[in-house]
Subunit: 193 residues, 2 copies
DNA sequence: CAGATTTTGTACTGATCAATCCAAAACGGA
DNA sequence: TCCGTTTTGGATTGATCAGTACAAAATCTG
């Protein structure tokens, strides 16, 4: 063997994720990444080979973490409608929190900033979309079995709708909508399901 | 007087708008803006003083144009529900068009890319949000007078909800959702109003 | 036609970008 | 302890960034 690393790769990805999350892909310089991770240029390029590849790692980590949270929340033993309500409430709480301070959601940010001109990233976003769609579809299907979601609805359509509502709340928050407005959006969306 | 301009300022703003729209603020270089507008550097800086100010002009133009389209559509003499349905259909059609090709919406793009770190831009987005909110609120209020929207609903909440649905559809389109999914989102949203 | 004024093209500024190079440093195995 | 291997820091690369300097060109007023 040889000289060992003196940093933890996963912690570095985490730090890079935070940087990309708050600043965006283009606006985060490699210098910013050095400062965020505490690593030198060489260590970053030796480990991740390029800013783009580090971003992909950071995005994958973000999506995995978020989708895990989502599925955890959606697997709770409650009526389907309540589970979706809890999901939307959490999104509203996140977006109105004054400490997280308006960085939004890396998934939405990336979809808007990069998806159109980066096929690899677009593919990753699609895969994550599919995962969340499946999780939500399962929730609505179980709600239909339990009877608290009308049986004649299309579970998959409802799942698409909830995902869109989440993104809608996030964009509205960035466009300056206040907490009351965000709650109104969530409440109105719940009327539809 | 003195030497006259040999270009149309408004056409230049239009061209810049197209560039920012397809590429984003950061990723559009001043060189790109020269090529898009057909102007030299000097003309651009002599007229608009900075990339940032040109962007603000372009954004204002985009929002004015879009909000005009919106209010035009919403002032048609039809039941409120149909007017909102027409609005959502248009958004879906835009996002699935294969020629416009995935540039999305400059308003949403800007909210996500810039609003958090550019107070001036954030203020403009808020003003536009308010304009669209008022237009939609008026539609729902008229629908309640006509009886095709339930009188016990909150017209303003419904308006927030429709705006969020539009953003949600746009983000979903960028994340890879297909035309059927976008139509399902619009249809489900209509069930809520 | 002459003088005042503005636009325009071109060359240039210093800063910063992502990425590379290279030698010194640090470890494991022998 | 010494060799092979890898990591690390710091200097450096060429490209590109937003913005400027300046003089030639073009038009109006007189």
């Amino acid at each position: 063997m040889a000289r060992p690393r003196k940093f933890d790769e996963e912690r570095a990805v985490d730090a890079a994720m935070e940087a990309f999350w708050t600043t965006g892909y283009e606006a985060t310089s490699t210098q910013d990444l050095c400062e965020a991770t505490g690593l030198g240029r060489s260590s970053i390029y030796n480990t991740f080979h390029s800013k783009h590849e580090l971003f992909r790692r950071a995005l994958a980590r973000y999506m995995a973490r978020r989708t895990d949270e989502l599925t955890g929340l959606l697997e709770e033993d409650r009526p389907a409608r309540e589970r979706v309500e809890a999901l939307l409430s959490r999104i509203v709480a996140e977006e109105t929190a004054r400490d997280g301070d308006g960085r939004g959601c890396l998934y939405v940010n990336t979809a808007v900033e990069l998806a159109a001109r980066d096929a690899e990233v677009a593919r990753e976003l699609e895969r994550d979309y599919a995962r969340r769609l499946d999780a939500l579809t399962a929730v609505f299907a179980s709600g239909q079995r339990d009877g608290d979601i009308a049986a004649d609805r299309d579970a998959r359509a409802l799942a698409h709708f909830v995902i869109a509502t989440v993104s809608g709340i996030r964009v509205a928050a960035r466009a300056g909508a206040d907490a009351m407005a965000l709650r109104a959006i969530a409440r109105t969306a719940l009327d539809a399901i």
